[in-house]
């Protein structure tokens, strides 16, 4: 047997001859947050002997001490609904919001089912024998204690336990390793009403003690004046609002590409349902798959159904460990859709059922009979094939405030329908349909390049680029030179401007011909003085941030990304591109042109990171 612990960020193993466990359980749930509180309660209801260990002093995690009470989309159904009903009923009678009622109701239910809870305990080590976890080491108010078990559920949100145990993981985006910006959530008061407001701050490395502490302090030194609309500030929530962390490599994974390709797991545990909920304004750095969908095709607020395989919570390397929390094995693009509160509550149920089945059959977690699991999940409503609904548009209001028509989205192979759609200001579905058709769409799209209809011409160029065809290159370049600020209308929020989309596609096409136009844009210090382009917002469709010229920033960051893609493909252009980067970012003036917000703000952070990335490529190219 050995103990696996983390020293200065690295997992290390130390042999131990034997361990005298204070007590042994069927299941130890580490972290009683959104998923963990459900996992503990439902394991207990499943008849297992359960211990829940929680660092803070209540259950609920992000849904209580993180201040997030509402479900963002998601599919209903499952055992959590009955619990949520009890929480709501208690709230109706006794509390102003769900936070206090959830803490009390859920911990009382765990208690009633004989589950044991240890608050203010943190897991700091994992005991492993061969390939099987055997228990945990915890720091408690009284000192160190060891607890044995058959199954550990790592519900810490960030997979701290799996990391301690040495499991492989993936984290952040390929370009710069960053994750989404974090938020500080605060409760605010207006007479009787107690609400919550979030504000996105910069990025934080949540695995670095000092960086995390600085972020906790910096974000709370803000009084949220802008966000709270003259409501009184009550309290900054204890938990920092980190949305994204490591994902543990498990028996099965889900990628955004597989969802866009319509590939499905044969063994789903439930269906997730939301848009790819990116945060931050530098999504062009998020990679090609997300970029093609959100920026290049303007489909960013389209919802996707993600069938989530049960094996995405079973780590590859160890037995007896489950990851039923945000850190399950999905790529980071899909994670932005599969991390929602409702999904996490369902994960708690699935974790409890997998553990119960492994104990019942005395088998490894990966060997449980799926048909039994799916029966359990179907009976509770957690897994309901009626919700396997592909892509949809859902919501209440459209970008212009008119009622949003909710509908399912079917990409088409009808070329005349595609042509018609490209002629409108909502060409997104046609741009994506063209990609799915590939070569078959090219002739029709090329014809549209000569069309009198400006929309058709420009959107056909986007669609051609989306199938990797360069024929629309000149149209794209002239769209950039014009600084076409037309805002498209596919989405209920955050619709793209045509000029930035053209920049994006020129980068994806690695268009050397576009270098001059792109460099001219980037280095012109008076670029932001074009009022028709960058000043007033014509619609409420983009979330407006005071003192941040997001339109200009979108053009700029898309240009940086495009030039990087072009430079990577064409060595001969690297000197010119590097020189443009140096001119553009020579002094701090570019920063002031974009924002007057502080450098540690989310926006400031993104602007400085854009500069860092550009400089990194100059160095990499030897300039």
């Amino acid at each position: 047997m050995y103990i696996s612990e983390v020293f200065n960020g690295k997992s290390q193993k130390t042999n131990v001859s034997s361990v005298d466990f204070t007590e042994t359980y069927d299941v130890i749930v580490c972290g009683l947050g959104t998923a963990g509180s459900m996992a503990a309660l439902m394991s207990s209801e499943n008849g297992l002997k359960v211990l829940g260990i929680e660092s803070f002093n209540c259950v609920g995690g992000t849904t209580t001490i993180g201040g997030i009470q509402t479900h963002y989309f998601g599919c209903p159904g499952g055992r959590y609904t009955e619990i949520d009903d009890k929480v709501s009923e208690f709230q109706r009678l006794y509390t102003r919001n769900q936070i206090e009622s959830r803490k009390f109701v859920v911990e009382s239910l765990i208690d009633e089912t004989d589950g044991e809870i240890l608050y203010e305990f943190s897991v700091i080590g994992v005991y492993i024998d061969g390939n099987e976890v055997k228990g945990v080491k915890a720091i408690t108010p009284q000192g160190i204690a060891d607890y044995g078990c058959r199954v550990i559920m790592d519900c810490t949100g960030d997979a701290y336990v799996a990391h301690m145990a040495g499991c492989d993981s993936h984290l952040g985006r390929a370009l710069d390793g960053l994750t989404q910006p974090y938020s500080m959530v605060s409760s605010t008061r207006n007479k009787m009403w107690v609400g919550h407001t979030n504000r996105d701050f910069g990025r934080v490395d949540q695995y670095d003690d000092e960086a995390l502490s600085k972020a906790l302090i910096f974000s709370r030194s803000y009084n949220m004046e802008e966000e709270r609309n003259s409501n009184q500030l009550m309290i900054h929530m204890p938990l920092i609002g980190v949305r994204e962390g490591r994902h543990i490599v498990c028996e099965e994974t889900v990628t955004m590409q597989s969802i866009l390709d319509g590939k499905k797991t044969a063994t789903p545990m439930f269906y997730s349902y939301a848009d790819f909920d990116k945060h931050g304004w530098d999504n062009t750095f998020d990679g090609e798959t997300l970029g093609d969908w959100c920026i290049g095709s303007n489909l960013n607020a389209y919802n996707a159904t993600v069938p989530v395989p049960y094996r995405s919570v079973i780590p590859k390397s160890l037995d007896g460990l489950l990851i039923p929390c945000r850190a399950l094995d999905v790529d980071r693009d899909v994670a932005s859709c599969v991390r929602m509160v409702v999904d996490m509550k369902k994960l708690g149920e699935v974790g409890a059922d997998i553990a119960a089945l492994a104990i019942k059959h005395n088998c490894r977690l990966r060997d449980i009979p799926y048909y039994e699991l799916s029966e359990m999940l179907k009976t509770s409503g957690c897994l309901d094939d009626a919700y396997d609904r592909g892509f949809r548009i859902d919501g209440t209001k459209n970008w212009d405030g008119t009622p949003l028509v909710n509908r399912s989205v079917k990409f088409t192979d009808d070329l005349s329908a595609i042509s018609d759609m490209l002629g409108t200001l909502s060409p997104g579905e046609a741009i994506w349909s063209s990609r799915l058709l590939g070569e078959k769409a090219v002739t029709t799209l090329k014809k549209l390049l000569a069309s009198d209809n400006e929309n058709a011409r420009k959107h056909a160029a986007f669609a051609l680029a989306n199938v990797g065809n360069l024929s629309g290159e000149d149209v794209l370049i002239s769209t950039v030179i014009e600084r076409d600020a037309t805002q498209l209308q596919d989405c209920r929020k955050n619709n793209q401007r045509r000029g930035s989309m053209a920049v994006y596609w020129l980068g994806r096409l690695k268009s050397a011909k576009a270098v001059d136009a792109l460099c001219e844009f980037l280095t012109n210090p008076r670029e932001n003085e074009r009022p028709e382009l960058y000043e007033k917002d014509s619609s409420g469709t983009w979330y407006v941030i005071k003192g941040f010229n997001n339109r200009y920033f979108q053009f700029m960051i898309n240009t940086v990304m495009a030039l990087i893609r072009i430079g990577e493909a064409h060595e001969e252009w690297r000197a010119k591109i590097s020189s443009a980067f140096k001119t553009a970012f020579l002094d701090g003036s570019f920063y002031d042109r974009i924002t007057d917000r502080p450098k540690q703000s989310s926006e400031g952070n993104m602007i400085l990171n854009m500069q860092n990335v550009a400089e990194r490529y100059c160095r990499r190219w030897g300039h």
Binding site: V6, G9, I65, Y160, R189, D208, L216
Partner: protein
């Protein structure tokens, strides 16, 4: 890296010590918050008229005043929290970090911690514990805020305090010294379910303690100064600045 002083507890008193010592001091807390012993325990304090001895504490008092901490006889520190956090921006602070052990040896103290990057070891000449030490306490409370939009009144049997928002009252729920948060919350809701016309706006996420007159001496050489033993956070901060200046 060695520090002159390691402060256990990101408290008002600890912040005062850090203010006086600057880079020579490291503050460590298992909680992700600072100043919680007053703000999050809903112990907003009394005796604010007591003179403050240091300029730093007087300046914090001014900040508090400007942020509406004192409306007549009602006190509320919520809006003051950002100002308190801004005092920590340039200090050495580790939040969310468990204190695994504190060992006293010939050349001072070795403090082993466990945070998001795992185990770390810190050295210091002196260790001061400013956390609320249950052993030194006489009473323990889990406070909560209730409000009414129905013009209801609270029964006299409850131990209550006026509070910044007019419609709100802080109710002090006395619990046993051995009660954990789960038991204490149950006692809170045992009270709440009997109240007519009131709802809970917030339950404290830190206990309030009252302390013995004499804080016992630690046997391990650690200096014990529970921040919560002061009547209000400004007095705790003031004491911290003075203590830091003497080190």
């Amino acid at each position: 890296m060695g520090f002159d002083v390691i402060v256990l507890g990101a408290t008002f008193l600890g912040a005062g010590i850090a203010e006086a010592l600057g880079d020579r001091c490291l503050m460590i807390d298992r909680r992700p918050q600072a100043g919680y012993e007053f703000i999050n325990s809903l112990k907003f304090g009394h005796r604010f008229d007591k003179p403050l001895k240091t300029e730093a504490a007087r300046s914090l008092l001014e900040d508090f005043k400007q942020n509406g901490a004192f409306e007549g006889d009602r006190i509320c520190l919520f809006e003051c929290a950002p100002h308190f956090y801004s005092l920590l921006l340039d200090k050495n602070v580790l939040l969310n970090t468990e204190i695994i052990s504190v060992e006293h040896n010939d050349d001072g103290f070795t403090v082993t911690t466990h945070g998001v990057s795992g185990y770390r070891v810190h050295k210091a000449k002196t260790v001061i514990d400013t956390r609320s030490l249950p052993d030194a306490a006489t009473e323990k409370y889990l406070n909560f805020i209730v409000n009414t939009d129905k013009g209801a009144t609270l029964p006299d049997r409850l131990d209550t305090e006026k509070f910044g928002y007019e419609c709100d009252t802080v109710v002090k729920c006395r619990v046993n010294m051995s009660d954990g948060y789960q038991t204490a919350r149950k006692k809170v809701f045992d009270i709440v379910t009997t109240l007519e016309g009131f709802k809970v706006a917030m339950v404290a996420d830190e206990f309030e303690y009252t302390f013995k007159n004499e804080i016992p001496k630690s046997e391990t050489g650690i200096t014990l100064f529970p921040s919560q033993s002061y009547a209000n956070p400004l007095l705790a901060y003031d004491a911290g600045v003075i203590l830091g200046g003497e080190l």
